[in-house]
Amino acid sequence: MKVNVKYFASIREALGRGGELLETKAATVGALRDELIARGGPHASSLARGKAVRAALDQVMSNEDAALAEGCEVAFFPPVTGG
């Protein structure tokens, strides 16, 4: 399925882009993260397991079990620091 992936803050900087349109077989947010890590390079280092990475599915904070759907928007970013 097609998903719209977005990156913010330090992850966006490490990847050199704010997002990408992907064709994925991943069924969940966590599986998509693993698929991106498997690419190696900056994806592997910035999304690595053990690093504090948060995710949102369709613009709502989500955990990694959340199920992806055709055309959904998934964002990966570091812990938030507003206020």
Binding site: K6, F8, A9, S10, A52, R54, A56, Q59, V60, M61, A75, F77, P78, P79, V80, T81, G82, G83
Partner: protein, 157 residues
């Protein structure tokens, strides 16, 4: 009803915001506000500028949901959140949270609740410019602890 949430690059006028929030509502007997500002120090290092990034669309939705939650938890009449993004300097205003109620207790609590919520659940990120170079601000465990006091356990870090 006027907007409850504004994300903007420009500064805000606190007096004007508070006047608008309580205008025409005679039930209001208390207005509580919090203003967050840019510090010139970060862990001892001098901060010359701060860049604030956000997730357009999600940020507004997340804060709207927090205000809805505040209305269910507290006996309040109105709430307003203004948060700046882009390049800021020490002493600049970053965020305004303002709440109205009949008596002070509920708006004091709702104001703190909204700030605790925003700190750990609204998608904003700060990057500071220091003599050692630019650095992304780390999230604080104490902010998660502050939100947990309200019975919400959604860890940010």
């Amino acid at each position: 009803m006027s907007a409850r949430v504004s994300i903007q690059a420009g500064d805000f006028d606190v007096a004007q915001e508070l006047a608008a929030l309580r205008a025409t509502d005679g039930r209001i007997g208390a207005v509580c506000s919090f203003i967050g500002t840019v510090r010139d120090r970060s862990d001892g290092a001098a901060v010359s500028t701060m860049e604030l990034e956000h997730y357009p669309g999600m940020t507004e939705k997340a804060i709207e949901a927090m205000i809805d939650d505040a209305h269910t938890r507290f006996d309040i009449y109105g709430a307003r959140v203004v948060h700046r993004v882009g390049l800021l300097r020490p002493t600049d205003q970053i965020v305004l949270v303002a709440v109205t109620s009949a008596h002070r207790g509920q708006s004091f609590q709702a104001c703190e609740f909204l700030m605790d919520y925003l700190k750990t659940q609204a998608p904003f990120w700060k990057k500071e410019q220091t003599p050692q170079g630019a650095q992304w601000v780390d999230a604080r465990v104490s902010d998660d602890a502050a939100l947990a006091r309200w019975g919400i356990t959604s860890a940010n870090r």
